[in-house]
């Protein structure tokens, strides 16, 4: 029984790796440009060239080649799927089945069929895996970035572990808050609304200056010099509780529908922010257990600073459970992304995703290939993530 479990977990990891590779090298697998082409006596690398153009390193080829098939190079090595996701092939339009008669000439078949405009479904699947991986990893990373600090502070220090004089807490919390408000209200207009990065640094600087100044000021009041503990655990728990009560998905639909220009980064941001409580809650519970283990007690007694114990000794021990919650989150985020693009909100309309293919299949139920294959990809991915997250 145990053997079978590890085997299936290996399969799950394999599938996720495959998906990641598919996302990375998708352009070399499905593209309507050749990988290598000899044209006008010159060896060209059109797919690589595309990357160079996007990075601004190279200029486009001198007579711009719009359609490499019609340009008919002397010799060309084509990708295995010579179609780009989202590009129509009007000769094969009107939902052609994978087994149907296709009018592709000497070009490769549409292995998994086409949609009404002749867009290749397999190329769409590969592009969809790129979007899924991007959204899944991006938002999981974000939720970890938010959840790990909050969860570990709450779980490791609890309500009594973080001790400092009162002026310190009041100074930093109130002063930092005022500093940030000041940066937003006054500094940004004064500097003519700089870009995001400069604004961010302005905010950080104002928080540091405000917090430091107020705590230095409050230090003068003797009553505030008494040391107290920051109730970190209660604060984080209250934050989690507030978030749990918010109907995430409903809010998500409302949010993404408002935003004028749908973009993948907004979806990543929203999913990541909505999912931090589950990371924080899980890590908190784990650290609550770990902090009472003998080796941590021993480290405390031998006088190692608390932060060092947290980072060097306690957190590495919690990585296993973190991976579990992360892989569960990955599956959930990918599912949410498909859900949103199935509804047609949030993800830009020109991006082909698994969800958008499924959505198209609703318009033409007879095109079973547009419903079955994207769903299979999605199911395998979600199952793999769930399998990795399964505790027993």
């Amino acid at each position: 029984m145990i053997g079978r479990r590890t085997q299936s977990k290996k399969l799950a990891i394999g599938w996720l790796l495959f998906l990641g590779i598919l996302a990375l090298v998708g352009d070399f697998l499905a593209n309507d440009r050749p990988l290598i082409a000899i044209m006008e006596g010159e060896t060209r690398f059109p797919v690589l060239h595309e990357y160079g153009e996007a990075l601004g390193l190279v200029d486009p080829y001198a007579p711009v080649v719009r359609n490499w098939y019609r340009a008919s190079p002397d010799w060309a090595l084509w990708p295995p799927i010579p179609y780009t996701a989202g590009k129509s092939d009007l000769k094969n339009g009107g939902y052609i089945s994978p087994f149907g008669k296709q009018n592709t000439g000497d070009r490769a078949r549409h292995y998994l069929g086409t949609d009404d405009l002749g867009k290749d479904v397999l190329a769409g699947l590969i592009h969809g895996s790129r979007v899924a991986v991007l959204v899944g990893f991006g938002s999981t990373l974000l939720s970890l970035l938010l959840g790990i600090p909050l969860g570990s502070i709450a779980g490791f220090f609890g309500n009594g572990g973080l001790r400092a004089p009162r002026y310190y807490w009041w100074g930093w919390i109130v002063g930092g808050g005022c500093g940030m408000l000041y940066a937003l209200v006054s500094l940004r207009p004064y500097f003519n609304y700089p870009g995001f990065l400069v604004s961010f640094f302005l905010c950080v600087a104002a928080i540091v200056v405000g917090g430091w100044a107020l705590q230095a000021l409050l230090k003068l009041i003797p009553r505030l010099r008494k040391p107290t503990a920051l109730p970190a655990d209660s604060m984080v728990l209250q934050g989690i509780e507030l978030f749990v009560n918010i109907p995430g998905l409903v809010l998500l639909i409302a949010l993404v529908a408002v935003i004028n220009e749908p973009s993948i980064s907004v979806v990543i941001l929203v999913i990541g922010v909505l999912r931090w409580p589950s990371v924080a809650r899980y890590l908190r519970a784990e650290l609550l257990r770990i902090r009472h283990l003998p080796y941590i007690e021993g480290a405390k007694v031998s006088g190692i600073p608390a932060w060092r114990i947290l980072f060097r000794h306690a957190l590495p021990n919690a990585i296993g459970p973190l991976l579990i919650v992360a892989s569960f989150g990955l599956g959930a985020a990918i599912l949410l992304e498909s859900f949103l693009s199935f509804l047609g909100v949030g993800i830009p309309a020109d991006q082909v995703t698994w969800g958008s293919l499924l959505k198209q299949s609703r318009d033409h139920p007879a095109a079973w290939w547009m419903a079955v294959f994207p769903g299979l990809m999605l199911t395998l991915t979600v199952l793999s993530c769930n399998l990795l997250a399964d505790p027993d």
Binding site: L181, Y182, V185, S186, L187, P189, Y190, N192, D233, L237, Q238, E241, L242, V244, N245, I246, P247, G248, L249, V250, L251, I253, A254, L255, A257, V258, N260, S278, R281, Y282, L288, V325, F328, G331, L335, S338, F339, F342, L343, G344, V345, L358, S361, R362, P365, A366, W368, A371, V372, P374, G375, L378, T379, V382, L383, N386, L387, D390, D392
Partner: protein
């Protein structure tokens, strides 16, 4: 116990207050002018011909919505901005004035420019193209562009009052004033207070699309979603409980192995994919298997018997309920199996076995009660999941419930409806979690709630 309940109950209004703040904030930053939706069609047409009358109508409509009030109980703002900016009711004009003040820092001169601009844009003696470009200038909120347009006007029409006022404003800039912030209390005469008060009294306003009260629309949709989700919940527990219990009771048997694997796969199958497949295969004639109706909720004709009503409804609801239910039933039975396995190891089960009780008696009579406590909290997690799931299922099967209403109004930016639905969902979610947690504690007196011992709830 009582303390815990009270603590949870104090969270509820706090969460809802935060949610209402989020909704209110969203409403403020959404593009589109809500006042426009209140104006009758005829008065929008007068905007071009008679701006003064339009202005008056607009002002009255805005005042009836409370848009001439400050947004919140207090404001923290730049000291250069006047405390009366909220009285400028047109959002475009307000944004323009705000941007100019935050650029030049001198409110009296900005105001002088604005007055000159308004006066001359309404001046009937000016040539048509000039007053048109002046009116465009009124809606401009980028100081640099305003500068360019004013320069262009000067080139074309020579010295105008407006050009002088603009030059005056640029010359008299006091940018040092921008460095000061101010804080001001507005009292209860503010937009949020009025909006929240109206919502508390059940008035969600008018829908932008249908121009009918939102509450009526939601009430109709809510009944359908409630019926759909109620049936689903019943189905979930009816199937999940015996499945999980017997799987645990006959651990390692073929039934257990297959049901465990099957439930795992079922839980991972995205319900919207399954729903799409079912809808494609069984509700359309594409494959010759259109056994189920594809649209709507199945309203039996008036005066038909109970049996007809039930069969019609069953035909319409079978697929939606199936799709909505199976992820939850997989989830619940997996949990029940796990907690029942924990119970099976205990001494009382061994005793019961030694007494010679049949397995099903042990399962239902002894294990079930103890193993089902954690299942109660799952109810709290299932509730919001069902509401969210309804969006997709209702969209795919065209059931005009709350989910479809939410989707349609979000797509069409029908804000009053969206916000009412988000708030309602928030209340239902919070309430479901609360009831589930309290139910857990009531059913199992051993559970310690309170300090850090919040029972786990939610989707993990």
């Amino acid at each position: 116990m009582l303390r815990y309940a009270l603590r949870r109950l104090t969270y509820l209004p706090l969460s809802l207050f935060l949610l209402s703040l989020v909704c209110f904030g969203l409403q403020q930053i959404t593009p589109g002018d809500p006042v426009d939706h209140l104006l009758p069609e005829t008065s929008i047409r007068t905007a071009e011909t008679d701006p003064e009358i339009y202005e008056r109508t607009y002002r009255r409509a805005a005042a009836s919505l409370g848009y001439d009030l400050p947004p919140f109980y207090f404001s923290i703002r730049n000291a250069a901005l006047p405390d009366t900016l909220h009285r400028i009711v047109r959002p475009e004009e307000r944004a323009g004035l705000r941007a100019l003040t935050l650029r030049y820092g001198n409110w009296p001169l900005v105001q002088e420019y604005y007055r000159t601009l308004r006066r001359s844009s309404w001046n009937p003696d000016l040539p048509g193209d000039l007053s048109a470009s002046l009116r465009r200038l009124l809606f401009q909120d980028d100081p640099d562009r305003i500068q360019r347009q004013v320069d262009a006007l000067e080139e074309k029409h020579g010295q105008l009052d407006l050009v002088a006022a603009h030059a005056n404003m640029v010359k008299g800039a006091t940018r040092a004033k921008l460095l000061l912030p101010t804080f001001q209390l507005h009292g209860t005469a503010n937009r949020y207070h009025r909006w929240a008060g109206r919502i508390l009294s059940g008035d969600f306003g008018l829908s932008y699309l249908s121009r009918r009260p939102v509450s009526g629309q939601i009430k109709r949709a809510f009944r359908r979603t409630a019926l759909l989700n109620g049936i689903t919940l019943l189905v979930v527990y009816l199937i999940a409980l015996p499945l999980g219990l017997y799987a645990a009771g006959y651990r390692g048997s073929r039934f257990d192995r297959w049901s465990t694997v099957g439930l795992f796969i079922l839980f991972g199958l995205p319900s919207f994919w399954i729903a799409t497949l079912l809808a494609n295969f069984f509700t359309t004639p594409a494959y010759g298997m259109d056994w189920f109706p594809s649209m709507g909720f199945g309203d039996a004709p008036e005066g038909s018997g109970l049996w007809t009503v039930i069969t019609t409804k069953a035909k319409y609801l079978f697929l939606p309920v199936l799709c909505l239910a199976y992820p939850s039933w997989a989830y619940v039975s997996r949990h029940l199996r796990r907690s029942a396995l924990g119970e099976m190891k205990k001494a009382y089960v061994t005793t019961a076995r030694l007494k010679g009780l049949p397995t099903s008696r042990i399962l239902w009579g002894h294990v079930f009660r103890n193993a089902s406590f954690p299942i109660i909290t799952l109810l709290g997690g299932i509730f919001p999941a069902l509401l969210a799931g309804s969006v997709l299922i209702e969209k795919i099967f065209n059931i005009p419930g709350m989910g479809l209403l939410l989707f349609d109004s979000a797509i069409n930016r029908d804000w009053p409806v969206v916000i009412a639905l988000v708030l309602l969902n928030g209340i239902l979610t919070a309430f479901g979690l609360l009831v589930a947690d309290l139910g857990y504690a009531l059913a199992d007196p051993r559970v310690q709630l309170g300090e850090g011992g919040v029972p786990k709830s939610g989707g993990e």
